[in-house]
Symmetry: C2
Subunit: 137 residues, 2 copies
């Protein structure tokens, strides 16, 4: 669903896009805000939220809303899965073969017209496993 309003460019918008790309690993709105402020100290959090929402609507970003309490944003808009570490909150990508994708993700299911999907695994990442082991937990 694209906005029907005329879009304009602004310094803020391009800085927000650049920040998401630079951060790379599924930043939250607040992380984008922190990064964007390095380049434009006066930028406001609501501007970040507004632009992330618009970019998601226009499929220029993927918004991931079932990871943690916060919404994460991903500049990789291709179909892929996510892995969420319940220890450190880090988000990783999971690649799935195109064959499995097709088998799993039909366009329709019992009358539902499927437009998008979100797959998230939760668990413990390599780093946190090592940390836990070294603490003898």
């Amino acid at each position: 669903m694209n906005r029907t309003v005329i879009r304009r460019n602004s310094k803020q918008k391009s800085i927000i896009i650049a920040s998401v790309k630079k951060l790379g690993n599924h930043p939250t709105a607040d992380e984008v805000f922190t990064e964007a402020r390095k380049l434009l100290p006066g930028i406001s959090l609501s501007t970040v939220y507004r632009n992330l929402a618009i970019l998601s609507e226009n499929d220029e970003l993927l918004s991931i809303t079932n990871l943690s309490p916060e919404t994460h944003y991903d500049h990789n808009t291709h179909r892929h899965f996510h892995m969420y570490c319940t220890e450190c909150g880090k988000v990783g990508d999971i690649d799935v073969s195109e064959k499995n994708m097709e088998a799993l993700f039909p366009d329709k299911y019992n009358g539902f017209q499927i437009n998008g999907f979100s797959v998230t695994f939760s668990g413990i990442c390599k780093n946190c496993s090592i940390l836990k082991d070294s603490k003898g937990e």
Copy 2:
């Protein structure tokens, strides 16, 4: 992760469980609250939240977070997918063959130890499609 505290029964707790089962279709905390109040008008929303959290921790309920802005609760704790209608907010179940499950859901992935997963499709349900068609959208 179970609580280590001793659990007691209460009228509120059993009414909350009964309400989730009666509502059936992935109710939110507020919907459970509304249902529970029919049976016990004095019950408080925080009691509902507290009990839903405990039941989820004990795997007596599945909590589905950020399907929508609210957390949904499911008395079906078996592995299955969800379908979220972006028009009416209704949540449906999607069954996937056990074979596909096994292929897709390994216990480990690149060092990640996978403990749980969440799969959500979003789109438009049958009812809403019909409504949209009849409006000529």
